[in-house]
Symmetry: C3
Subunit: 351 residues, 3 copies
């Protein structure tokens, strides 16, 4: 794709320094860029690549020292975001899926919107409602009365169980399972587990993205609710009756246990675990591998397993790292106290 | 569904207080219940909802203070279990899959039981044996000589590899992989890994449930064995040659490494990891995110990474949390010893 | 399968002691072997089974004490590797998939090599290139321009996204997702996340194995690269722009965050987490459940969360385990110092 540099700079509100009349074919990372590419610089750790990058043009912060003359600069605030905006404008992937494939099975009672594409071997069961401009890729299955909102994109081999509802502009990656039974059993007097029917559903509000092989269980009763704008990374587990607040992000391999409620604008880093039946306030950040066993009522950053408020956790971590030094200090104290005791005894004995 | 309250109370052995002649349409959680619903109360943390619940009837413990007159009470021991029994009786989902879909591929040498339903695009390979009253949902694949016992339920997009055997009344959720190769390699002198053929299989005894995207590897030689009544939550990993004992429960995202044997009636909470080649006794509870690197020979509760016996671990955790206080005490001791040393020196010097 | 013992011994360079003229039908573990089986002994913890094993022949280290006369010995260095070589020679599974199934959808522009088998309901999209002697099992999907090298084996229900490339002799287990979008968003002033197009791909070099339900995200820009000989276990997550070096092994449920580069010949044990944008040197071993938040520049063994060099971590772990004893020593010191202070005061006061 040929990109007019002047047009691109105007789109992001940037100012060009250098040769305006170059044509850009591609966007690339600074260390991999080739002639014809536009790149960007935003982390100081990447500045080492500036002197050697082969990019033809580069997005930089206003005031960047323009030490090279063979490259065109575009000054713009937050070059990384500007770069993302150009990616969205010029490189948003266009998937070629069109129409309803003859090998797809669409139940006569299912409603399919306009301009919606259904791939090969897809199963759309009775009572399903699929909106407009949806793409459902090959070998994906929707059981009875599942719903998908307009402009959603569902990749191959996804499983959506009965009565689950997906909002508009969803992106559901391959291998996702939405609406599997919650993990609910009761034990009898012999310790044998009996399955409790899981008769609720899952609702994804608008603008939700689910990474590959994510699992979201249906509610025991009621709804497992993923609110507007939530982004969930690969291999995350969401148990029954969980609520995830708006614009919350959950990174890969984290797990949220049953009935826990997470607030808006939270960030869970990777491999975090939350026990069930707790509440997490809005604007909480939980760092990687933390384990949360109690409700968090105050926004802020937390880590550890069990998790502590960030500064407390850092301090504890430092103490633990210095444990050998503390042990040495205890030993030194013991020796000194011994010496003191001896001296004092001698003194008392008049020696 | 209309439920006769008198019949429902009789079924669970409960005693009705208040208006017996109401019709119940639904079971609901206390905080979400509406007129016509039956709910239950069993955790004190939910009592706050009692004064405002709109439920028409409620299961309560015998002796519960009946402060409202506009609701019908059913006194019953363990209201939560009674509620689950009503859910099972009246709301066990009836899946509508019937017959063998023409798009399914059933090998001529496969044996399919009576009243068994095979969904769209399902592949049943040569030599498979499927029992009676089984439902295998769309796009699931069984390779050669796989077996499934009576009354089992297999959801869409499941992969069951050759020679693996699933018992009766199994529930296998979407995305499960049973019988993938164990992770077995040997290295040559150059550090290159060579695959060791994994020629064993997986056996699931009766009444096993596997959550979505669970992976269970086939044995290198012999059998990876999941015994009767085991319940496994989403995204759990079971490696080759593992044995999981009867009525053991494994929560989401836990992993069990190769050749480890877990006893009966154990509970692994979420994100637990067990190294390979160890044994876990019966009746062991391992709390969330724990890492188990040695055999556990005694029933009881364990946590931590590496895991300790529960009380020991709690005590250690408390010590660690109080680490700053201990550091302060060491500093105070150092100051005091210094002072003592000075005083004693002065005294010795006759000052 | 009947195996001639003399031929088998010659193949592994072993020396037979005892009856050479027996026929072996099977290879088995020492504790499960039956008459007609060949087994092996290599860990001392398994020697307890030697006196009772029913195996007809056994691989042992040179010099092993041959206390039984009813069993044939084959002396060989590294009996476990020799056993694996026999497994490979005599028991490598032969999958029966042949030809292109009529239910498979192969786009006219796709190129399929010689002797390649495509299973039922497989989707091979436009521009795909599949090498020779490849087997792609049922219900697997390849989107546009995906490529698979010669002699690769792809199990059922795998999803391979557009433009991703798989090398020769790959083994891709069920449920794997290759090339899902990286987890990349930018936030606007309201804290709403906007998707950054992920326009790169994934490349698997030759001899890579991916366990079931592994997820590997495509690069934001450029390539997520899994180098020659890498073996990845079930449920592992590899984020966008990660590079995994040659002959590196990653165990189950580990996760590698975006843009991190792992060297050659590394071993990540189970449930390990690596943050993004760090570098791991060659020959690094990271033990189970460790969390790595900084680059590792020196080969060696590391553990903990946050991870430390192995010996340091072991020492810290010992200190932590002994924390109650240190607390007791602090208390004892406090009492002694108190006593000293009293005594000294008395002495100063002339008592």
């Amino acid at each position: 794709m040929d990109i007019n540099l002047v047009e691109a700079a105007a789109f992001i509100g940037g100012v060009i320094y250098g040769n305006k009349n170059i044509i850009i074919n591609n966007l690339a990372k600074i260390e991999e860029a080739r002639p014809g590419d536009l790149t960007f610089l935003y982390m100081t750790s990447y500045e080492k690549y500036f002197s050697t990058t082969k990019a033809s043009a580069i997005l930089v912060e206003p005031g960047f020292k323009k030490s090279r003359e063979d490259i065109t600069y575009i000054e713009v605030k937050e070059p990384n975001k500007a770069f993302s905006r150009l990616l969205i404008k010029y490189f948003t992937p266009q998937f070629t899926l069109n129409g309803v494939d003859p090998s797809a099975s669409v139940h006569p009672t299912a409603v399919i919107g306009n301009n919606t594409a259904i791939g090969k071997n897809v199963v759309i069961s009775a009572g399903c409602k699929i909106g407009d401009n949806v793409k459902i890729f090959h070998n994906t299955v929707l059981l009875e009365e599942a719903e998908v909102g307009d402009d959603s994109l569902i990749f191959p081999n996804v499983s959506i169980r009965e009565k689950c509802k997906i909002g508009k502009r969803a992106v559901i990656h391959s291998g996702v399972v939405i609406g599997s039974d919650g993990f609910g059993f009761f034990t009898d007097e012999k310790g044998v587990y009996h399955k409790i029917p899981q008769i609720g559903n899952v609702i994804l509000e608008d603008d939700v993205e689910l990474g590959s092989n994510v699992t979201i269980d249906r509610a025991a009763i009621g709804t497992t609710l993923i609110k507007r704008g939530v982004k969930i990374d690969n291999l995350v587990q969401i148990a029954h009756n969980v609520v995830v607040g708006e614009d919350t992000v959950i990174s890969s391999q984290s797990g949220v246990s049953g009935s826990t409620k997470i607030g808006d604008h939270c960030i869970l880093a990777g491999q975090v675990g939350l026990v069930g039946h707790i509440n997490i306030a809005d604007n909480v950040i939980i760092t990687a591998q933390s384990g949360i066993s109690k409700s968090i009522t105050k926004s802020g950053q937390y880590f550890g397993s069990p998790a502590k408020e960030f500064k407390t956790a850092l301090k504890l971590e430092a103490h633990i790292r210095n444990f050998p030094a503390y042990v040495d200090r205890i030993k030194k104290l013991e020796a000194e106290v011994n010496t003191l005791q001896d001296k004092l005894n001698n003194l008392s004995n008049g020696k």
